[in-house]
Amino acid sequence: MDYPLNVKIIRVPCTGKVDVVHLLRAIQKGADGVYCVGCLEGACHYNEGNLRCRERVEHVRQMMEEIGLEAERVRMYNLSSGEGPTFAAYANEMTENVKALGPNPLKKKKNS
C-alpha cells in the first residue's frame, strides 16, 4: 500500500473547500500535476462539496487548455475514506499520468 514520494498531500475538510485559484496556483508555482481526492459522488460528508470540486476541476482543465498547458495535469478522483489501497492506486496512476506528460513546461521559464 505504498504511494509515490512525489505526491504531496494538502488536507482539506472537504474537497468543496478547494477553489479554482488553488489548483491554478499549484501549476503556476511549478507543480507538474495537481489532483483532488474527494468522497464518492452522492456520499459527500457535507452533501455536495465534492460535486462543487468536480465542477471546479473541469473548469480548471478547460483553463489549462486555454493557457497552453495539458488539461491532464489536473484531475479529480473519488473514493471513500476507508479505501486505503485505492488511494495508493490513484496516487500511482496520477504519477504515471504526469510522468508521461513530462515536467511542467513553466518550470523551464523564469519562475514567478
Partner: protein
C-alpha cells in the same frame, strides 16, 4: 443587477499583448455578485495570463486591486497613487465602471476584461436572465409586471404581432410570446381592461447618454465637479 461575462481568454490575451506591466482592477459590486469580475475572478485571470505569457516567452507583470465600485469617484480615487506604475489597466467592472476608470486616467490605456450583458435576475448560481432594458419609461403597471421591451422580441407596446404562435414567439418555439404571457397574467388578476389602453411607442432615435438627477438634488449654484 448589472450582469457581465468575462471575455474569452484568448481575446484578453490579445488585448494585453503590447503591455508588460498591467494592473487588473476588479469591482466589488455587480460583477462580484455575478461572479465575473470580483477579487477572486481577478486573481484567477492574473494567474491564467501570467502562465500563458510565460509559456509564450513574453512575460507579463500583473498585479491586482479590487475597489468597492468603479462607478463612484471616491472608490476610484484609491487608485490615483498607483496607476502610473503600470503600462495599462484592465478593468473587470461593467461597461460603466470601465469607462469611468478610463475617463479618470485618460493617458493610460484602460481595457475591458468583461462584456456587460444586461440587467438580469439570478435564476441559480452563475445563471442570469435579462429582465430590463432600462428604457426609462416603465410600463409594467399596464403589463402585469412583464416588460414588453425586454421580453418581446420586437419590443411591442400594444399587444402581440401576427407571429404569436400558441404561446410562443414566431422566431423560436422556446421563446415565449411576451404578450401571451401578459394577457394571461392580467387575466389572472382580473385586470384585462388594461390591455385595451394604447401605449405610445418610445422614440428610440438620438439616444444620447441620459442624465438622471434626483428631485431635490438639482444643483442651483455653479456645478462643482469633484
Amino acid at each position: 443587477m448589472i450582469v457581465a461575462k468575462r471575455k474569452p481568454f484568448d481575446e484578453i490575451k490579445q488585448i494585453l499583448e503590447p503591455y508588460s506591466k498591467v494592473l487588473t482592477v476588479g469591482c466589488g459590486t455587480c460583477v462580484s455578485v455575478c461572479l465575473a469580475g470580483g477579487e477572486k475572478e481577478a486573481a484567477v485571470l492574473n494567474t491564467e495570463l501570467e502562465m500563458a505569457r510565460r509559456l509564450d516567452g513574453h512575460p507579463i507583470e500583473l498585479e491586482t486591486r479590487t475597489v468597492e465600485r468603479q462607478c463612484d469617484r471616491e472608490y476610484l480615487a484609491e487608485l490615483d497613487d498607483i496607476v502610473n506604475d503600470y503600462d495599462a489597466l484592465i478593468s473587470l467592472a461593467c461597461g460603466v465602471g470601465i469607462q469611468f476608470l478610463a475617463e479618470r486616467y485618460p493617458e493610460k490605456p484602460v481595457l475591458p476584461g468583461v462584456d456587460t450583458t444586461g440587467l438580469a435576475v439570478n435564476q441559480s448560481v452563475g445563471n442570469y436572465e435579462e429582465r430590463c432594458r432600462s428604457c426609462g419609461r416603465c410600463v409594467l403597471a399596464m403589463t402585469g409586471g412583464i416588460c414588453p421591451v425586454t421580453m418581446c422580441a420586437k419590443g411591442l407596446y400594444n399587444g402581440p404581432c401576427g407571429g404569436t404562435n400558441l404561446g410562443s414567439c414566431e422566431i423560436n418555439p422556446d421563446q415565449p410570446c411576451a404578450w401571451h404571457r401578459i394577457h394571461e397574467r392580467l387575466a389572472a388578476q382580473g385586470r384585462l381592461d388594461l390591455i385595451h389602453e394604447i401605449t405610445e411607442a418610445v422614440d428610440w432615435c438620438d439616444q444620447v447618454p441620459r442624465m438622471t438627477i434626483q428631485p431635490g438634488y438639482e444643483k442651483k449654484s455653479e456645478d462643482k465637479s469633484e
